[in-house]
Amino acid sequence: MTRNAQQSNRLAQGGRIDRARTLSFTFNGKRYSGHAGDTLASALLANGVDIVNRSFKYSRPRGIVAAGAEEPNALVQLGSTEAAQVPNVRATQQALFDGLTAQSTNGWPNVQRDVMSLVGKLGGRFMPPGFYYKTFMAPASMWMTYEKYIRKGAGLGRSPMERDPDSYDHLHQHCDLLVVGAGPAGLSAALTAARSGARVILCDEQEEMGGSLLDSRELLDHQPAAQWAERVVAELAALDNVTLLPRTTANGYHDHHFVTLHERRTEHLGETAPLVDGYRPARSRMHRVRAGQVLLATGAHERPLVYGNNDVPGNLLAGAVSTYIRRYGVVPGNKLVLSTSNDHAYRAALDWNDAGREVVAIVDARKSPDGELVEQARALGIRVIAGSAVLEAKGSNRVNGARVATIDAEAFKVTGQAETLECDTIASSGGYSPVIHLASHTGARPTWNDEILGFVPGLVKGVHAAGSARGLHDLAEGLADGITMASRALDSLGRSAKAIELPQVDARREGAACALYHVPHEKPTLRGPKQFVDLQNDVTAAAIEVATREGFESIEHVKRYTAMGFGTDQGKLGNINGMAIAARCLGKSIPEVGTTVFRPNYTPVTFGAIAGRHCRELFDPERYTALHQWHVEHGAEFEDVGQWKRPWYFPKRVNGKLETLDEAVARECLAVRQGVGVLDASTLGKIDIQGPDAREFLGRVYTNKWAKLAPGRVRYGLMCKDDGMLMDDGTTSCLGENHFLMTTTTGGAAGVMEWLELWHQTEWPELQVYFTSVTDHWATITVTGPEARKLLAEITDIDLDKEQFTFMDWREGKVAEVPARVFRISFTGELAYEINVQANYAMHVWQTLFAHGEKYDLTPYGTETMHVLRAEKGLIIAGQDTDGSVTPEDLGMQWAVGYDKPFAWIGKRALSRPDTRRVDRKQLVGLKPRDPKVVLEEGAQIVLDPDHAIPMPMVGHVTSSYYSAILGHGIALAVVKGGHNRMGETVYLPMVDGQVHEAEIVSNVFYDPKGERQHV
């Protein structure tokens, strides 16, 4: 069966399609055919498909209105499989490919017979703005339920539920001049810049470059304009200094000439990228362009007129009619009525007439139109009805007539008797709005130009607009403007432009356009047929009138109240008309009302292109220690600490069952307390500090004293901000008189490094000191527990004698035959040695330890056990037990504060502020739950009187809490107001489930309070 017979609206010849290549596609489950070169929209029109969607709010049938990015109705869901689903594709921008499968975005059970239209009718003749909120308001708790069903009925597409088989790339590009848009102005600008030797990127969102030249009636050098475009594109393509990007939308202009270009590379070939030599090329690319200068040749969007039932399928933009006829060989109807305010739109009627179909009438709002095109139309015998407009379209699923009458646009009145013209298509044109979206992204306010009846872009330095984008709609002017603006941009770059010869354009006398936006009706707007302003969001002229009547005077408020310019449409067709209506109602001019601003993105961008390769395992870098492989092989569960993967615990298989976290941690804790354990502590931040003033510097950034720390000794230090609040802690070892090794918390490493540089570079540049991050260079292996000395002694040449190598000493020597620094510091309270070796020796040392450790039952432990052990000793973790509002004094660590140091170290002054001197500050204490089985919840709030009426005064919260296996009960660290003076008091922790836990305030050192075990 030949499908071509179905293409009832396809012309026998003409257009830029390839009739030899027939493509089959499916729309709403029905098969159709089109040709290579078609868009989905042109193919649907060729097949006489009138209804492509249901409207968002009223569920009215909708057809194709436009031929490009401004299409508000023809939003489709693409994809024959779940993984290939793409929502909200404009049929006018989707190239047809064989096998394309599309569904209407709206409409259930289908677009012909729609259930939601009942809601539209229930809402009465007029659903006011805010209808859903006003109608489904009470009870408030039900809104979530209502919303679910309303959204189901009204939603705009859906995202795929399966993994995207495609990949996406980011490319970073630089150029002298970025030209956005390859229409007449863009091409002449790009050619000027390219011939001048500048590096040029030219992008265009369409399948083919040429813009309006592709369907223009004009001749350039006595030949079809498209031929000139083809020649220029061919020349540009051959130049090394030019990058041509077709099918590429400049979707956002960001700061400092940073423009993102979304290039769709395979979407015209199939729903997923086709295999090429066994691999799938990236489906799309995001070019992140840093341009020297930017030239916007983005053209203009035609404005439809706002009249009654202007949404019935068969109402199109005049320019779109021309595009479908001339570019795709498709006439979207049989009998045309054109309603216009300007000469330019006459082309639609002339093209329609050329295609051999009937032009019923041209209805021109001007009293006496007299341009050359008007004369041409009259000469062809086309009826021109002056001083009039189409008041209302007739028909429901397709236009079947147009009511026409004389109007007084200024007085907003119908002045004559209406006449109904029989037709199936109404084309309208209310003028042309420059596409100012990208310029708006810069934050520059557009300005109204009365001559062109439109906003022209406001421009920041280095951004230029050319041609239609700044209101020069005449072809000859646009071509010349491209050269002018490119020359200006080149001048700013310090380059001189080489002149290019322009093609000859036949001069055409055009009459002036008149201002017409909202066509008056015999009935008041609220009572007449619906007159749509924003088709995608179902915003009517009446809605805007109501909004202004309800007191919304700012156009930004009108926008939000009515939803005008929302959605994927971003007000491309409707905004100016909406502003004009608001202005009329408010008795102001359009520039007085002003415009809303457009935000990125110009048209929707798929998330894949935004993410690029930064997804899944490449979303964020993962950092592994040198021992990672061992941990993996020994069944470690991992914890993310910043970007690091740290072993969390090492569950063992006991009686065929894998230990739980609690079981494993209890075992690991006891092993360290009673035998020996080993921890991979390589992730600790390490900063090598050198220079004659290194010691002085340490004294200024740490709260405690460093003047007398001798080589071979280690000291724990607290680091505050100048507000006196703790920011980080760690040990620093004196390696030599002018050489220190600082350790930081794992998460704080980069921040501390920048902090040291900040103070050195901005406050104390006179100090001679240098900082080098050595975190990754050294692996750190902590051997801790009563048996640690015996084990380490087996594999080191360092004298471990407790009198020779005391607590807080460090020694250099060999461990497992490799050079090592061994630090006798303890984060567990047990005898402990932290072994630092060059990272690539770490695995060897670790394995040697285990070879010798078997007889001591050497137990690897992870971060959870580390946390429990340090909490048993009351040792804090900066960032867990502190939160930027805790001073060293709040922690009870006055012993680490050098009150009498000569230099006013960072944080010192703040400790004498009235606020830091308060006695009721939250202070660190230990909490011992009365019930030994209870482990308090971290973050739980603490109250003094559990019977107090809600809200209870809260006096603190739990910062760390664990079960202590060695003590046999739960332990917690907490901050409590005035806690240091509340030892022995009972506090209460009411929980969400109604339970109230009781706990005693105790010292934060739960185990070995005298600290004897680490000194053995």
Binding site: H256, R445, V460, E757, A904, K908, R909, R913
Partner: protein
């Protein structure tokens, strides 16, 4: 995304390489102990939030790790100059206002359209100061 000229690397680099560190030229009082609580509080907590010209401290964090200053228009986001630690800005709100006055250019309330106008004034003020 900003394009920032690092005065140490002497190159324009992407914003991703930099961290903003707040208002520039906040000197730590030489003798904090001699400061009143109020003066110390001002130093710690109070910062300007101007509409227009602002001097900011930035660091080339993923580059040379050097701190430097930026003179930036907080309305247009235009970066008017970058300069090293210890240097003073060539462009200030005052210098800009006076040169524009001299040049007969009206400075609107910080609007975008002043960017182009400021351009000549910026050049002038550079010439005048250097």
């Amino acid at each position: 995304m900003f394009h920032i000229h690092c005065p140490y690397c002497e190159e324009l680099r992407e914003e991703e390489e930099f961290h903003p560190k707040g208002q520039a030229h906040i000197a730590r009082p030489a003798d904090p102990e001699a400061c009143s609580d109020e003066a110390w509080g001002d130093y710690l907590f109070f910062r300007d939030n101007p509409r227009g010209i602002h001097h900011e401290l930035w660091v080339h964090a993923i580059g040379c790790r050097k701190f430097f200053n930026i003179t930036r228009n907080t309305v247009t986001y235009e970066i008017l100059e970058t300069y090293k630690m210890g240097e003073q800005p060539a462009i200030t709100a005052e210098s800009l206002a006076s040169t524009e006055k001299l040049a007969g250019v009206q400075v609107a309330g910080g609007g975008q359209q002043t960017v182009g106008a400021s351009d000549s004034a910026v050049k002038d003020s550079r010439g005048a100061k250097v």
